[in-house]
């Protein structure tokens, strides 16, 4: 669309000494070298990798069962981990006890740092299956003392209204929000590649029709539309069904961008020599499209898909936030943020806003990563 400021800044000044290395490098190596120069994109990629690792090991990282609710410990403030006790390393959290205020009927919590709850790494907690297969009860962080007393607890990020652990819920919400975007990207990739390829390869009337379809899809405000579709899901649908229905809806958000990228590439490539050569050697059209043309711009497709991913995450989060996407008991960033919808909650229980941080971080990181990939996708430019 527009030239990237960072690209110009880091425009590779190829030195003579490495010129030889570059002339024999494979395309993949060239892309990697170019991508590496975009520092911000590399950092962003690391962040994304960390988040998807969290998605895989959500159970292991969690400290409590995300659905466990106890009314008596609702809206408890976060308990940060203190690593040192005076000068002595002794990781602990301070005990928090609550009593109902007889006048306001609010629950008032008092942090009492004389009473310490020792924590340790790889502690025992609730039982789960690591990666869905290995049964275990070890968690990254937990109370050193296995004898669980009901008054002892660690809620690193506090609890929500129903007394559920925000930290564990955030981990599981991340799992759903980040995977739903991935499936959505796959779906819109299929749609975008097929329509974009047909459009760019055949041109003419079909191209014109598909381009008009793209144009109209883009000129209609998407959120009200998808709100309308999402609102029609029957209330008795299971979480899984709604999950996939939402995936399909949000994949409608992004296919137009991908179709445009693919079409543009096809148009420029249609007259290349290697395509003519393939045609002359009698390859059929499907083979030419999928065997010869598509692989030559995989990198562009990957970049476009990375840039489409944040759109999907925003779409899901927005729909769920409005109560039209995933519904409780499903946990996603959107449903978590639903609790933080009005000023009172924000002012009195600011920790309910914490799920906003990973959303912003992940979306920023994905944008930077996609930008870096887009610049690196064409290693022969410049």
């Amino acid at each position: 669309m527009e030239s990237n400021p960072v690209e110009q800044e880091l425009a590779p000044e190829i030195e003579d000494t490495v010129e030889e290395r570059i002339s024999v490098a494979s395309q993949r190596q060239l892309i990697w070298w170019r991508f590496r120069k975009h520092r911000v994109a590399v950092v962003a990629t690391a962040i994304i990798v960390i988040f998807y690792t969290m998605v895989i090991f959500a159970d292991f990282l969690a400290t409590n069962v995300p659905a466990d609710s106890e009314a008596f410990r609702g809206l408890m403030p976060p308990q940060p981990v203190h690593i040192f006790d005076g000068w002595k390393p002794s990781p602990h959290v301070c005990a928090v006890s609550g009593a109902r205020n007889p006048i306001t009927f609010q629950k008032d919590y008092v942090t009492d740092c004389t009473e310490k709850i020792q924590v340790r790494l790889f502690a025992r907690g609730y039982e789960y299956k690591l990666l869905g297969v290995i049964p275990t009860d070890r968690h990254l962080l937990g109370m050193s003392d296995d004898t669980l007393r009901p008054e002892d607890h660690i809620y690193l990020l506090g609890t929500d209204k129903q007394g559920r652990d925000m930290y564990s819920r955030l981990l599981f919400g991340t799992r759903i929000s980040l995977t739903i975007g991935l499936f959505g990207v796959v779906l819109s990739l299929v749609l975008g590649i097929v329509l974009g390829a047909i459009s760019g390869f055949y041109g003419g009337l079909i191209d014109n029709l598909i381009q008009r379809l793209v144009e109209i899809t883009r000129s209609i405000p998407s959120i009200p539309l998808y709100m309308g579709i999402a609102a029609a899901f029957p209330h008795d649908w299971s979480i899984l069904k709604i999950y996939f229905a939402i995936t399909i809806i949000i994949s409608l958000f992004a296919w137009t961008d991908l179709a445009r990228v693919v079409r543009g590439r096809f148009l420029t490539m249609r007259d290349e020599d290697f395509v003519t050569a393939a045609m002359l050697s009698g390859a059929n059209q499907r083979r030419i499209i999928f065997r010869h043309m598509l692989p030559s711009f995989y990198s562009h497709i990957i970049a476009a898909a990375t840039l489409a991913l944040p759109l999907m995450i925003i779409a899901e989060t927005t729909l769920s936030f409005l109560g039209l996407g995933l519904r409780p008991p499903a946990i996603s960033w959107g449903t978590l943020l639903q609790d933080a919808q009005n000023v009172q909650t924000i002012a009195l229980t600011p920790w309910l806003m914490i799920p906003a941080l990973p959303v912003i971080l992940v979306i920023l990181a994905l944008n930077f990563m996609g930008d870096g990939l887009r610049d690196a996708a064409d290693p022969y430019s410049n």
């Binding site: 669309m1 527009e2 030239s3 400021p5 110009q8 800044e9 008009r212 144009e215 109209i216 883009r218 000129s219 209609i220 405000p221 998407s222 959120i223 009200p224 539309l225 709100m227 309308g228 579709i229 609102a231 029609a232 029957p234 944040p310 925003i314 989060t317 927005t318 936030f321 409005l322 109560g323 039209l324 943020l337 933080a340 919808q341 000023v343 924000i346 002012a347 600011p350 806003m353 906003a356 959303v359 912003i360 979306i363 920023l364 944008n367 930077f368």
Partner: protein, 329 residues
């Protein structure tokens, strides 16, 4: 020129038709027909409708007829300016939407003006003083502005304005003006209340317009005609504003058409969070209650509004850059 105009009109007409089909599709999505829901709603209030009356209602909406007849009946109603009846509010849809639609339009238009006023000077500055501290700062904010979803920005703004200024953001009018008729005071009050929603809505658009203006202007500044003008002794700012900026603004105009749908989408969500009296909260309420004529009417009208807005900015573009009409699109 005429050819371009006709093509644009045909596309717009096609889009208008597509929007109406989609809206009608959404109206018919929920299980059960409109009359059944209506009767159920009335029954809750204690009004039992007889079978005959129900039958006449069904006939009125053409529910016993094939789907395309229902669509045509609905379109015919809309042609007469009647969007149907909302049982959630017990009022005709026109009365429910009324002023809210106007406020939605005012909000979108004001946001576009805001984006232009803020983004273009910053974009010019970033390009002319490339790699200066300002350029880097705005580039960074641009990325953040593009990345943060509207509703999140609204939440964060709400939090900070509460914590820092002890000021609660919400609504578009002070209490005394909520149901007053239009006057100068009400207009000023509206303008004051719109500032924060406009900033929230305009951030993403501003960010992308800054990036586009900057990139285009940088391309233009490298062209030989700039060097010529400079060699001839034209003062630097006059030179920049008179030639390259004019060239760089054309893509900015076409961007306006592109961001309009996003603005309207965003305004729905932001209005829900901030409790603005636009069509947003009503749409959400209608969808949750499955009050489909109201929901469909809102989706139809904001869709049409967007199509018209896009059409207008296409005309603006051809006025600003007559070359586009020769592009065989």
């Amino acid at each position: 020129m005429l050819g371009y105009l006709i093509r644009r009109v045909v596309y717009a007409a096609f889009a208008v038709w597509a929007v109406s089909i989609i809206s009608f599709f959404i109206i018919n999505l929920p299980p059960g027909d409109y009359v059944t829901s209506y009767i159920a709603q009335l029954a809750i209030q204690g009004n039992i409708i007889g079978a005959e009356e129900a039958e006449s209602l069904r006939e009125y909406y053409g529910l016993d007829q094939p789907i395309y007849v229902q669509y045509l009946k609905w379109m015919n109603q809309i042609r007469q300016g009647n969007l149907g009846f909302s049982f959630e509010f017990g009022l005709p849809v026109n009365d429910v939407i009324g002023e809210r639609l106007i406020l939605t339009m005012i909000l979108a238009a004001a946001t576009i003006v805001f984006i232009w006023i803020v983004a273009i000077p910053i974009g010019i500055l970033s390009a002319v003083r490339q790699y200066s501290i300002w350029d880097h700062t705005f580039t960074f904010f641009g990325f953040v502005g593009l990345a943060v979803p509207d509703f999140m920005l609204a939440l964060v703004m709400m939090y900070f304005s509460f914590v820092l200024f002890d000021f609660s953001v919400g609504g578009l009018f002070s209490p005394e003006y909520v149901s007053a008729s239009w006057s100068l005071g009400r207009g000023i009050d509206l303008a004051q209340h719109m500032i924060i929603p406009i900033i929230i809505l305009g951030t993403a658009g501003t960010a992308s317009l800054i990036r586009i203006t900057r990139a285009n202007l940088l391309d233009e500044l490298r062209k030989p005609y700039v060097a010529t003008a400079r060699a001839k002794g034209l003062s630097e700012w006059r030179l920049i504003l008179k030639y390259p900026v004019r060239m760089a603004l054309n893509p900015a105009i076409s961007l306006t058409a592109y961001i309009l749908p996003f603005l309207v989408s965003g305004s729905i969500v932001v209005s829900v969070v901030l409790g603005l009296p636009t069509v947003g909260p009503i749409l959400l309420k209608a969808l949750v209650a499955q009050d489909m004529f109201l929901a469909g009417g809102i989706i139809l009208l904001i869709g049409w509004m967007t199509v018209v807005g896009t059409f207008l900015s296409d005309l603006l573009l051809v006025w600003a850059d007559p070359r586009v009409k020769f592009e065989g699109r």
